[in-house]
Amino acid sequence: MRQTVSHKTILSGLAVLALCFFGLDVMLGSVQIPFGQVVRILAGQETDNIAWVFIIEKIRLPKALTAILVGCGLSVSGLQMQTLFRNPLAGPSELGITAGAGLGVAAVMLASGSSASIYAIRQLGVSGSWLIIVMASLGSALVLSIILLIAGRIRDNVILLIVGVMIGTITLSVISIWQYFSQPEQLQEYIMWTFGSLGGVTQHHLYVLTGVVIFGLSLSFISSKALNGLLLGENYAKSMGLTISKTRLIILASTSILTGSITAFCGPIGFIGIAVPHITRSLMGTSDHRVLIPGVCLTGTVLVLLCDIIAQMPGTQTVLPINVVTSLLGAPVVIWVIISRNNLRSSFS
């Protein structure tokens, strides 16, 4: 039972780290606010500068909370996909799931008649955000279903990855056609969206996104026993009385909802989904989903908060797009996974 204790220790360590990074993320930014004042604002007390209150409450706090949601959601999506496909290279952005979400978002705009941008849709308020979430999740589910169908016929991990990249490309092409017929200023906004941003989620949307992400995470957590069974492969899972089709459906729903909603609001954020499960597995030394799911949530939170802090470029007026930072940190992890496994074609975890 020594192991459970050490798992708990790692989880608490990660939680403390996440808390520190959350604090740092709220503290740092292009406007320098003294530490004491930040604490006062967070505690709801009077401050010297009313602008600081606005910056903390309306900008930095929602952004840091969004970072937590993104970190948890994308990481759990990636973890589920890696187990479901038994493929260490599976992840929401790698297999084109985020592209599917993008397609869903684009479909909303096409149907609305005007080629409105994601920012315009955000102005619709809560009902608009539901519409986007539903469509983006459906788009994700569409791509995920296609890949699941193909995965049933292909046992080679690398080939599946290539198929995923191709489906992602097809999806992006469809979006490009739509872009081609759009106005230049809307194009610019779309390109801004593809950079990814944690800052665009305002208060009401944050409530909606929080609810949806918690729902997706719960779906994932209740399937943790089935996910553990799937580690041994579908035949063993079946022989232990698990209903594979039901499990697959729940995981598909959870992954689509998490990836869809996050991508709709924050743009396609790469590499978190694929990298965090690997970091967590090697950190905790287990494949048990009951521990891994909380583990990837915390690791994901820490990593996205760190990416956001780096993106702020503390001390400067510049802000880098979050997607650039996650790619810079995440891609080397993927390379490490590829190099450290000589039997990538068929192995898992």
């Binding site: 022989s239 232990m240 009385g241 287990t286 048990d288």
Partner: protein, 340 residues
């Protein structure tokens, strides 16, 4: 006799081809498997062993007829209930590098645990017992990817045991293993059947191990027929040889193994001496195409004897003086000279 754990009634197994036609690999199978019994399913490649195993384990539907488990038709048992009566060990090499042996074995308790898979005290006891029974408890905390193939397969067997089922089906569990591991797995299975009253069915290509360890054989032929019997009966009535016969390859009832050497010998010799020395001398001679006659009326007689760890072969040709050698290599050289 007690009720069989698994029973098939006029079962046909096979699979549907792309054009919806049924490819039948076995028909009218009426088979029974009882508690405490280890049965080996043998047959050449393509005879349909895997198809039969998959059908019996419920992974594949029957074509006609039915399978009953503890008297209940397989098709009416739901997945969760079936998982408490039947467990599997498969050929496939599983890749769960990050799981420890104990965690893998604990997965066998999935049919019994709650929604989160938390182990109760009973579950823990069963896991412990499964680890002990398969002698895998020494590396319980090791990761699966640190184990050899043989150890891995023992862990998978422990997982099946933890599932606490009357029936364990194993689909070529020894396929990727070296000889000592294969022997070990067979011994383990035999003991489990006897000591813990499990009904064990395994498909295998290990003919000689199956002959020694199995209580009964299910012998599947290429034409879909299936013969059932005690190993020794099947050897003596010739059905064992029948199922595997090929030109230039025959079953030697004397040695209990397959003989890859030709039928018509180039010469005949008489051979006498202690049993084990005669056995190995005969094998060497057979490789040379020389048969050992049952009568002593031969142009060459060989006696082999052992004194204080020194083995001596004495060759006594009728025409020449007798010769002595101290190794099989020497013996073969002398015989070649004699025959030429």
């Amino acid at each position: 006799m007690n009720q069989p754990v698994i029973k098939t009634i006029d079962l046909s197994v096979g699979y549907r081809l792309k054009n919806k036609a049924a490819k039948i690999v076995g028909t009218s199978l009426n088979l029974e498997l009882h508690k405490g019994e280890m049965v080996c399913l043998l047959g050449p490649n393509g005879a349909g062993k895997s198809t039969l195993m998959r059908t019996l384990s419920g992974l594949q539907p029957t074509l006609t007829g039915s399978v009953e488990i503890n008297g209940i038709p397989l098709s009416t048992i739901d997945a969760a209930a079936l998982a408490r009566q039947l467990s599997l060990v498969l050929t496939e090499r599983i890749e769960v590098g990050n799981l420890s042996v104990q965690e893998v074995v604990a997965l066998g308790r999935i049919p019994y645990t709650g929604w989160l898979g938390k182990l109760s005290d009973t579950d823990k006891q069963k896991v412990e017992w499964a680890l002990e029974a398969t002698e895998t408890s020494v590396f319980r905390s090791q990761k699966m990817n640190n184990l050899s193939d043989g150890e891995r397969q023992k862990v998978m067997l422990a997982r099946a045991l933890a599932q606490d089922t009357d029936l364990i089906l194993l689909d070529e569990p020894t396929a990727h293993l070296d000889l000592p591991s294969r022997v070990e797995i067979m011994q383990l299975l035999h003991n489990l059947a006897r000591q813990h009253q499990k009904a064990i069915l395994l498909s295998t290509h290990e003919l000689d191990l199956a002959l020694q360890a199995a209580d009964r054989l299910w012998l599947m032929k290429k034409n879909g027929a299936l013969m059932v019997g005690t190993p020794e009966d099947m050897v003596l009535n010739g059905s064992f040889e029948d199922a595997f016969a090929r030109p230039g390859f025959y079953f030697d009832k004397n040695s209990g193994g397959f003989n890859i050497h030709r039928h018509s010998p180039i010469a005949e010799v008489a051979l006498s001496g202690p049993q084990h020395l005669v056995f190995w001398t005969r094998r060497a001679l057979q490789r040379e195409g020389i048969s050992v006659a049952s009568h002593s009326d031969c142009s060459l007689q060989i006696t082999v004897s052992e004194k204080q760890d020194h083995i001596t072969w004495k060759l006594m040709p009728d025409s020449k003086d007798s010769l002595h050698t101290t190794s099989i290599a020497g013996l073969l050289m002398e015989i070649r000279r004699f025959l030429s």
